[in-house]
Symmetry: C2
Subunit: 470 residues, 2 copies
């Protein structure tokens, strides 16, 4: 009896684990942050070469000096479907001093509680998916298993920057990137470790709020009690945005949310509840949401302070009334809540708290003629949420392929994280389904990002099954 | 008719302004921050030499590797009084990147609106006072004006660190440093430019509060809405500490304040009101205190956020729920409010908001068994406020000497800033009176610290008059 694609992947990987881990490490060693455009270009060139040497017709979609989209295609005579594999090779910004296991681009494999993990920026998010797809191609080739569908690879380099140019780049090649389904290979599987198939992602936008105190730092003794402290004004502004349970108090913040379908509600009800385990893993004494479960809460929009800064803390702290205070806020969106409207709700809230809101550095005249001034940056690199209906025929076919490879799977209406699905759907006139492979505890977006190697090997099996779909 | 001390100072300074500015610049070029103990030692050795070469019997009070106290004494046969001149040669920490005029230890003289100013850390706070005293000695010597009182110089090197060892060092030499009055030569004169004589200073203490989110940064999409954000919890905690007018809401915060005497109230009523000018200079659209004046408000304790930090803002901002959030808080104190009690009021407030308060890094068990945990550092380098009664005979003599040199003067019951007067009074069994010379807009404690050179020359005159007191 012929090997299944997943079995072929397993047979291919098992004797080569050390070699494959080494090759993956070489890939992670290439810096992939927005601050280093040359590093991103090296990643793209490397991937172009990896596709080409496997016989995949490949090219870079370029636009000026932007990180290119790496594109590959395999035409299969008589194919019924075209399946597009999306992933991204760029990673979140790094703060080297926070990386205690290894510097972000000096990957190492470490044993963690009996499991091998590889550390480096991009390990989980999202180079693992690209490496699993390339390795799955090799495994199918080695087992002489022919492909049945047309296959496309679209690997972008600006996802962590909000994919500001992806839609333009796709639009410029819309004949190449169209497909029956886009498989978004990004994000972590369920915290239980079970293979997850996700039918949507939250949208994402940001605002950055700066409020103003004195035009330069003032001595906190000589002027404290009298000169307004912008850190205090910012904390008072931010504090009013949520109640003690994490429920957002900004007016209309939850307006317009599209309700879940019966099938989506059922999938959610069948998903494992990992909350207690996660609280223990993250050392959390309580959670937001008034006792509701994580998987339930990610179906709502969120407001998260990514960072706040004013003056200095620790060794550099000085007795000063700082001139400004700034907070970076991440807004996650669900279907029915538009990113521009959500930004506006925050702006309206700030204005309602007595602030004169500007979008550029305020002049002295503005500062003197208004009691309070806030500068709000509205990030234009934003996109809305998407949910693909679970009952579409192509959705059912993908579920069947993944079940064939990995046994029991978990179906989720949305993931908490964001991918620019909306623009893919617009550009490729397609549906999207998300197939994550990383471990949930991969420190994605933070220091010491890592991938459990077992997740990489399982991911090769999953990708082999999907590559081999009808 | 013989020259007055102030006239002698003027005659001495006028032909030498360029030379003196250069010498002052050489003094400022010596790094004087706590992070650089060797730099502080070089300052002390330099000052020891400056005293010795002027015939002042001088020595360093040392304790291990701590920045020494520079001590000098001039015995005058038949003297009625012993007058002690206190100043400090250390400066606040510096963040080089914020210094836009010149690096902190590369002094330059710049013309600002027709006035010459010298830029560098310590220019106003507090090397100006030391340099003015040395120059006043030279001026009196050149004019052959004999001293009448015994004179002592006590110049410390840990003032900006809260003078944690000053009292011990003074105690070890209590026979040397006793005096009828300690003249605290520190701080800025009134914003109007009028020479100020100040009879007290606010006390000062600090707390640093850290609250905890997940044990490491979590993806804000996958966990936002569920994992508590420590930045949001900190802003909610801090926001409750003050109302919108800057009035502190922490229970008992204003309890125990010793009321001002009739003479103190009168001095305050006669002081110039500079609030509108200051609002314009600092580009403030409003002030705290519900319309009360600055000079009134500094007679109350204050709470100032020196710095707040969580995650990253700006180019390094990432979509993460940060693991911790920290605020450094400066608490200024007035007579009747003890620093330990004030710290405790803050701690009690934090506990009343549902936090389990610890003073060391919490364990995982602590974090899991309490909904909220706050680590609060209580700075032991703290001291209380002091006010010397205006009607003491020695106070009246000091006022007369300063009026003789500078004409009209402004008398203030307290300054907003802090000096460790309490420990001086304990160690030297003395009274303290503060004689500032720096311009109010000297960017003290901040970047681009500077001294208006005219204030330095006026300061030489003032110091000459005080050195020549009976």
């Amino acid at each position: 009896m012929a090997q299944s694609p997943a079995e072929a992947a397993k047979s291919y990987v098992e004797p080569r684990e050390a070699d494959l881990a080494q090759q993956f490490g070489d890939f992670l060693a290439m810096p992939n942050v927005a601050a280093d455009p040359a590093g991103l270009k090296r990643n793209a060139d490397f991937l172009l070469h990896e596709l080409t040497k496997r016989g995949v017709a490949a090219q870079l979609f370029t636009q000026g000096d932007l990180p290119p989209v790496v594109y590959g295609e395999i035409q299969t005579p008589g194919a019924k479907h075209t399946i597009v594999f999306y992933a991204h090779y760029d990673g979140q910004p790094v703060t080297n001093s926070e990386w205690t296991v290894t510097p972000p681009f000096t990957p190492v494999v470490r044993d963690v509680n009996g499991e091998r993990r590889i550390y480096g920026r991009g390990a989980g998010d999202d180079k693992a998916a690209i490496f699993a797809q390339l390795t799955a191609l090799d495994a199918l080739h080695a087992a002489k298993i022919p492909l049945k569908a047309n296959i496309r690879f679209v690997w972008e380099g600006e996802e962590e920057a909000g994919s500001p140019h992806l839609e333009e780049m796709l639009d410029a090649h819309r004949d190449l990137i169209a497909g029956d389904v886009w498989l978004i290979c990004d994000g972590p599987v369920d915290q239980s470790g079970r293979q997850t198939v996700v039918f949507g992602a939250r949208g994402d936008t940001h605002v950055a709020i700066t409020v103003y105190g004195p035009s330069h730092g003032l001595h906190s003794g000589h002027y404290g009690n009298w000169a307004p402290n912008p850190a205090m004004e910012l904390v008072q502004l931010l504090a009013g945005m949520k109640d003690e349970n994490g429920h957002v108090l900004i007016p209309h913040f939850y307006d317009g949310i599209a309700p879940l379908s019966a099938m989506e509600k059922q999938a959610l009800a069948e998903a494992p509840v990992n909350d207690r385990m996660l609280m223990d893993a993250f050392e959390l004494g309580h959670t937001d949401g008034g006792g509701r479960h994580l998987l339930d809460l990610i179906n709502e929009p969120s407001l998260n302070i990514n960072g706040i800064s004013s003056g200095q803390t620790g060794a550099h702290a000085a007795n000063v009334i700082p001139p400004t205070a700034t907070a970076d806020i991440d807004l996650r969106l669900v279907v029915g809540v538009d990113w521009k409207a959500q930004q506006q709700r925050v702006v309206d809230y700030v204005a309602s708290r007595g602030y004169f809101v500007v979008d550029t550095e305020p002049t002295k005249e503005m500062l003197l003629s208004h009691a309070k001034v806030a500068k709000i940056f509205r990030d234009p690199a934003s996109y809305n949420a998407v949910r693909t209906p679970l009952d579409l025929p192509i959705a059912q076919e993908v579920i069947a392929a993944v079940k064939g490879a990995r046994g029991e799977v978990e179906l989720l209406p949305t993931m908490g994280g964001s991918v620019p699905l909306e623009m893919m759907i617009r550009a490729a006139h397609t549906h999207t389904i998300t197939l994550p492979i990383a471990n949930y505890d991969d420190n994605q977006h933070a220091a010491n990002e890592n991938l459990r190697l077992k997740n990489l090997w399982d991911g090769v099996e999953t990708m082999a099954a999907l590559l081999e779909m009808d």
